[in-house]
Structures are given as C-alpha cells and as structure tokens.
C-alpha cells in the first residue's frame, strides 16, 4: 500500500511539472506559428530592402530596420562601457560595506522599474533639459539607461564566478591588482559578460515605451539614420501599424511581417549569445 501511494503521488508531481512545461511551450509555439504563418507571406527581399511607400501601405521596412540597428548600437555605446566598468568597480574594488550594499540593491531595483518610466525620464532629461530634442541620440541614451542595471548585474555575476584561486595565481607572480583584473579575471569572465550584454541589447532592441517620447517617429522620409533626428524603429512601427494607422486592415500583413523581422533580429542576437558561450566552453578558456 505504502509503495503504491508513493508511486501515485510521484506521478501527480511528475504530471504537474510536465503539464506546466507543456503549457508554456504550447503558448510559445502558438505565438511563433501565428507570426510566422501570417508574416512570412510579406517577407521578401523587397520588404527588407525598400523604404515604406504610399502611406506605409506599400514598400518595405528598411527605414525602421536601419533605425533599430543604429539605435541598438547607440544603446550599446552608452551602456556597455559604463555598465562593465561599474560592475568591475563594485565587485573588485569597492569594500563590502553598507554603502555598496545599498548601491547594489538600488541597481537591482532599477531593473524592475517599468520601461515607460525610463521613457518619461529620458523625455525630461535628454530631450528637454539637455536640449537633444526628440532624436535617436536621446532615445539611445534612454535605452542605455534602461540597459545599465542588467549589464551591471550580469557582469558582476560573471566576475563573481571567477574563483579567488585565479586571482591569487596572478598576484603570486607579481601582478598588480589592475593587471590581475585586466589579464586574468576579465578574460575568464568574458563569456558571461558577453552573454549578458547581448541578451540585454536584444531586450533593448525590442523596447517601445522608452523610445515613444524620446525620438521614435510615426513616419520619416527616406532611409533615415541621422542620430540628431527622429527615426523609425521596428517595435514602434509594429505598434503603429497595428493600432494607429488609418487603414489597419490593409497594412495587417506588413504588421505581421514587421513582427517576424523583429523576432528574427532578436533571435539572431540571442543565437550570438549562445554561440559565444558554446565557443568559450569548447575551448575551456
């Protein structure tokens, strides 16, 4: 009896876990299938190489693609150097006292702030106070701010995983603290740092709220690409085509195509992160 009871309860536990996993996968697959089925029809070379035409009912989405790529590069430029340096300072140099603990807690809390708040903050600081206007520069800085807590946290975790014995090895041959960090700690932590950076940027590339007030435009002429001007971006383009356009039904295929391209862009970035991890693991470095 005892035995049978045990088996039953373990079957229930196993079933619950399997059902939860299945449910998650089910929704993921439904969303992906929906987007792929409805979006693949509008995918063509023209779709990604042509600018939007005739009130965005024809043509492609080159302008938002260029906007998103450049915007992500600006985000990287503003968030990676500061984020990585901040993490190195916190983990390697700062003393572990109440002040650094508060700073660390604050950084973690920042990653929980809704992205629309970052949008409003960017509007107040970069667009108005610093007079950048609604521009790719202001939007890139806003997304940079949004990305900072993630980059700091993932970088710090990557640094923390490097064992003390590795640092001691470098110090014991006469390396200074800075040399130890530069030559041994950071190279060892690189896969973790890069993975965190790429995943963070792929998240930033898909954000809509922070760029809403800071620089994303409904429509611009030509291919765009100037950092001091407004720009089109894939997530905002998608939002606009699905809710704001005057003939929503007509542009629906373009909206799905845009969604598919956005997912592919994000997927490729995540793939890069996995590839980096795989490559480093294979080399045992």
């Amino acid at each position: 009896m005892q035995r049978k009871k045990f088996k039953l309860s373990s079957a229930v536990e196993w079933g619950t876990l399997l059902l939860s996993t299945g449910l998650v996968c089910f929704f993921l697959i439904v969303i992906l299938l929906e987007i792929i089925m409805k979006g693949s029809g509008s995918l063509s070379w023209n779709f990604i190489a042509d600018i939007p035409r005739e009130g965005m009912t024809k043509g492609g989405i080159l302008t938002p693609i260029i906007g998103t790529v450049l915007l992500t590069m600006l985000t990287a430029l503003f968030s990676i150097p500061f984020g990585v340096c901040c993490a190195i300072y916190l983990n390697e140099y700062a003393e572990n006292n109440w002040l650094t603990r508060i700073i660390r807690a604050a950084i973690r809390n920042l990653s929980g702030v809704p992205s629309i708040i970052y949008g409003l903050f960017g509007l107040a600081l970069f667009v108005q106070a610093l007079q950048f206007g609604t521009s790719m520069l202001a939007a890139g800085m806003t997304l940079g701010l949004l990305s900072l807590p993630y980059i700091i946290t993932t970088t710090e975790e990557a640094l923390m995983r490097i064992p003390a014995s590795m640092r001691e090895a470098a110090l014991a041959v006469g390396a200074t603290k800075f040399e130890t960090i530069k030559d041994v700690v950071i190279p060892s932590a690189m896969p973790g740092i890069l993975t965190g950076v790429v995943l963070t940027l792929s998240r930033a590339a898909g954000e809509t709220a922070p760029i809403l007030f800071t620089g994303a435009a409904f429509y611009i002429n030509g291919v765009g690409g100037a950092v001091n001007n407004e720009f089109m971006a894939l997530p905002y383009h998608l939002y606009m085509l699905s809710t704001q356009h005057q003939s929503i039904e007509e542009v629906r295929p373009i909206a799905y195509g845009t969604a598919l391209v956005l997912i592919i862009v994000v997927f490729l970035m995540n793939l890069t992160a996995f590839y980096i991890r795989y490559k480093y693991r294979k080399n045992e470095y």
Partner: protein
C-alpha cells in the same frame, strides 16, 4: 647556515579571531622546511603572510617582523609585487591561468619586464620536469593537462621568475600517489637553488622531503627542529600524538 626567511613576534588576527600568536620562526637557505599541524592551526596563514597574500583580506591585522634576509616584507616603500616576485607561491589546488601552457609561464615574466623567449620558457619547464611532456603542445590550453602536470606547470610558473623562496601550500593534497612522488622528487631537486617552505598534512611527505619541521597547534609553534628529531624523538607529547595520528 644563512637564514633566508624569518618571522619574529608575528601575530595575525582576522576581525576578532586571533589566528597566529607570537610566532618566531626562521627558515634556512636551500633547505626545505615543512609546516605541520592539525587543520585550522594557522600553518597556511603563516605561509601566506610571507608573500603578503593577506593584503587581500581587509579584516586581517598583522603585527611583528617578517623578513627576507634583511628586507622588511611589510615595509611600505617596498612594492608588494617585488616581494611576490622574490617569494613565489604554489597553491593547494593547481590554478593555471586559462591560457596556453606557453602563456602560463610567459605571463609572469611579461608583467615583470623580464625576457620571455622560448629559451626561458623551456628552461622553466625543464626545471619543473615538464618540458618533455609538453614540448609539442605549448599552444594547448593548460587546463587540458592532468592534475599533476598542472601543478608542475604552476611550479614552473613560479621558478620562471627566479625567486629566492618558494612557498608551497599543500601542493600534493589533490594529487594521486604517483604524481605526488614526482612532485616530491621535483621539490628535492629545487632546494639546490631555492629555499622552500611547504605546508603539508602528509606526515610521510614531511619525513621524505623536509630538512626541518615546524609543528603548529592552535596558532602557536609547539615544537620545531630537524625533521628526524621531530618524528623520531619529539620533546612534546602533543607533537608525538599528532605525528602518530591520535588527532588531526
């Protein structure tokens, strides 16, 4: 006999906990000194105070005189990197850099602005009895070597800098008996050139390689002397009990 390394009235505490109490030891040139004692007796702490590894712990308090010949090891005007260059260290668990075998040796030479050509690398690897095994794989990641080979690589990395003293913190505790014997043979060979201080839990090892043995207990030196005397004719009963394995 020249005294190479010495500690006088050394006290070390971490926060509220005093780990070493009034230690007075001296290690002679070209000799191997073994530090033995039960876990937590402070032998690793003593060893690591000589190359200032405790600089990394903000709560470590150190007082007393530590000297390499006449050089005060805690003199503020002497760069710690210079001290660590002259007093090398080999750790309990082999910790090669995540770089190639070649780079593992070359790194210490580079940052100390010493020549790091292949001839220097070969010499260091030969001195650590490793050259014949790795001469065709110098570009291979060091982490692919066996545990014993990795530890000999770490010894090669230390001797490449031509230190005067090599501190060894239980260098064989993670190795199989064959690798251990190889490293012991290497240590015996190295004492012709270097002064070696080794922490060990292995009583046979201490008897096989050490000229002098220091027995520590609860942060104090209980007994010290020639290895044969410590093991065959100890003065203290506690030493006798420890080497016979009654506690530890």
């Amino acid at each position: 006999m020249n005294i190479k390394l010495s500690a006088q009235n050394l006290n070390i505490s971490f926060g509220q906990k005093q780990v070493l109490k009034n230690i007075n030891v001296a290690f002679a040139e070209n000799e191997i000194t073994a530090l033995i004692g039960p876990s937590g007796c402070g032998k690793s702490t003593l060893l690591r105070s000589f190359n200032r590894m405790h600089d990394l712990s903000p709560d470590a308090k150190i007082s007393g005189n530590l000297k390499l010949e006449d050089l005060d090891l805690y003199d503020k005007t002497v760069p710690v990197t210079e001290i660590r260059k002259r007093i090398g260290m080999v750790f309990q668990k082999a910790n090669p850099f995540p770089k190639s075998i070649y780079e593992n040796i070359a790194y210490g030479l580079k940052i100390n602005n010493l020549p790091h050509g292949i001839d220097v690398i070969e010499k260091a690897l030969r001195e650590a009895f490793l050259w014949e095994e790795v001469k065709n794989d110098l570009k291979m990641p060091a982490t692919r070597l066996s545990g014993g080979q990795q530890q000999r690589l770490c010894i090669a990395r230390a001797v490449a800098l031509r230190p005067e003293v090599i501190l060894m913190d239980e260098p064989c505790s993670a190795l199989d008996p064959v690798s251990t014997l190889k490293i012991e043979e290497l240590i015996m060979h190295l004492k012709k050139k270097y002064t070696i201080t080794i922490v060990t839990h292995n009583m046979q090892q201490a008897q096989r390689i050490a000229d002098k043995t220091v027995f520590l207990y609860l942060g104090e030196v209980k007994e010290e002397g020639p290895t044969s005397q410590i093991f065959n004719n100890p003065k203290e009963e506690m030493t006798m009990n420890y080497i016979k394995g009654s506690f530890g």
